[in-house]
């Protein structure tokens, strides 16, 4: 290739009018050839001068300062732009999925950890897991009392008294006003959570919302299993 042809290509490349295939070769040469690079720099100065960029120094040490600073920098470690076609499209998806997966994993670990932190409370409230713990309390109550009892009273009778060092429930916030009325939803909520893996998220949320919101599905939920346990014995 003659010098004139090379310089003509350089001029076209400077204007971004050179075919990509020729750019590859010229870019390689440009990065190594000091004289060619100096010519390239003067082309830039000509353009700046023509555009009347006042205040900008045309013979500035900026490029050499940047070059010296870059030499101290570690070499970039990315793969080239065209190494994988469509990478620009895929990467955001991959990044999003990775983030969601990480968040889900953290949430799952947190839930498992919290559940393992309060096994006695949950086990105590699960009739299937420990029926003996519940049966005597129900049996001890007179039949008329069971029939006529208000829901809070009945649940309070079955509820295990809270120990001072027992951790609070992670489902329902700590009660703001002490009393049997608030105990029932808390214990029921724990019961539901203990069985949450067998129910869908929508159902679980509705049940918990009703409990927290003060609706009264509680009587039916608590009154039904207790006689079954008694008669089973």
């Amino acid at each position: 290739m003659s010098n004139e042809e090379l310089e003509s290509q350089l001029s076209a490349m400077f204007d971004d009018e050179l075919p990509a295939s020729e750019c590859e070769l010229l870019a390689r040469r440009l990065a190594r050839d000091e004289q060619l690079r100096a010519r390239w720099g003067r082309y830039a100065a000509i353009g700046a001068c023509l555009r009347g960029e006042h205040g900008v120094r045309l013979e500035s040490p900026l490029a050499s300062r940047v070059s010296a600073a870059i030499k101290q920098e570690p070499t970039p470690s990315a793969s080239p732009l065209q190494a994988s076609p469509g990478r620009g499209f895929m990467t955001p998806w991959m990044t999003s999925l990775g983030g969601v997966a990480t968040a889900a994993a953290v949430a799952a670990v947190a839930i498992l950890w919290m559940r393992s932190e309060s096994p006695p409370q949950i086990a105590q409230l699960t009739p299937a897991a420990n029926p003996a713990a519940h049966a005597p309390a129900v049996v001890a109550a007179p039949a008329t009392e069971v029939a006529n009892a208000t829901v809070p009273t009945a649940v309070a009778a079955t509820a295990r008294p809270r120990q001072p060092r027992e951790p609070d429930s992670y489902v329902v916030p700590a009660a703001t006003t002490p009393g049997p009325v608030l105990m029932a939803p808390t214990e029921l909520a724990n019961y539901i959570v203990a069985h949450s893996e067998y129910s869908g998220p929508l159902m679980r949320r509705n049940a918990l919302s009703a409990l927290v919101g003060g609706d009264s599905p509680a009587p039916q939920l608590t009154a039904q299993p207790i006689p079954a346990v008694v008669t089973g014995k």
Binding site: S11, L18, A31, A45, R57, S60
Partner: protein, 202 residues
């Protein structure tokens, strides 16, 4: 032909570890970046410092550049953000410009900066370059002058220039190249010969 192909080919080389290719990009865009930064700071020396920071940040971030936009658009955003941050930092921590302080390291740095970029020699050299380029353009044949002005001043593509001048694209490329060569021939003498060359060759 791919738009921005020349910049992309250089960017790819930098991403493969060729630091010389980044020097080429800096040479191409340094004036534009300094001009851009000067919208935020008036002092040319400060603008050059900020431009330098912007180029270094761009180099460090280049592995993340995917080519979704043109390289200059990407660089432009980095330069603007760097300039805005520099202005905020300067406003928070205003530097004492008392140059009589001899024991203060910062004052030495400031004096060095002023010496480096705003000396009469530096200003005269820039004026000489302007004079040389303007004189060279004035001496160009009409077709070459029109082609280079449409390209550099109006930013037209070769195809648009070809349509404007009613000639093939290849002719436009040749005219722009010949115009640049004519100007560069004069400019090289100023760059290599130093001060006073413009008057001698003018």
């Amino acid at each position: 032909m791919t738009a921005d192909a020349s910049d992309l080919s250089l960017v790819q080389r930098v991403q493969r570890g060729d630091k010389g290719a980044f020097d080429v990009l800096v040479l191409k865009y340094q004036h534009k970046v300094v001009k851009l930064v000067m919208r935020y700071v008036r002092n040319p020396a400060e603008a050059e410092d900020i431009a330098q920071d912007a180029f270094i940040k761009a180099y460090r971030a280049l592995p993340q550049f995917r080519g979704d936009s043109a390289f200059y658009t990407w660089l432009y955003r980095i330069a603007i953000n760097t300039a805005k941050n520099a202005v905020v930092a300067r406003d928070r921590n205003p530097v004492d410009f008392d140059l009589d302080m001899t024991n203060n390291e910062e004052s030495y740095e400031m004096q060095g900066r002023l010496k480096d970029s705003e000396t009469p020699e530096a200003l005269v050299l820039t004026d000489e370059i302007r004079t040389t380029v303007n004189a060279a353009i004035a001496n160009l044949p009409d077709d070459l002058r029109t082609a280079i002005v449409l390209r550099e001043l109006e930013g037209l593509s070769y195809e648009e220039i070809a349509a404007t001048m009613d000639c093939p694209v290849g002719t436009v490329r040749s005219r722009i190249f010949r115009a640049r060569e004519a100007i560069d021939g004069r400019l090289r003498e100023v760059f290599e010969g130093g001060l006073g060359r413009a008057e001698e060759i003018g």
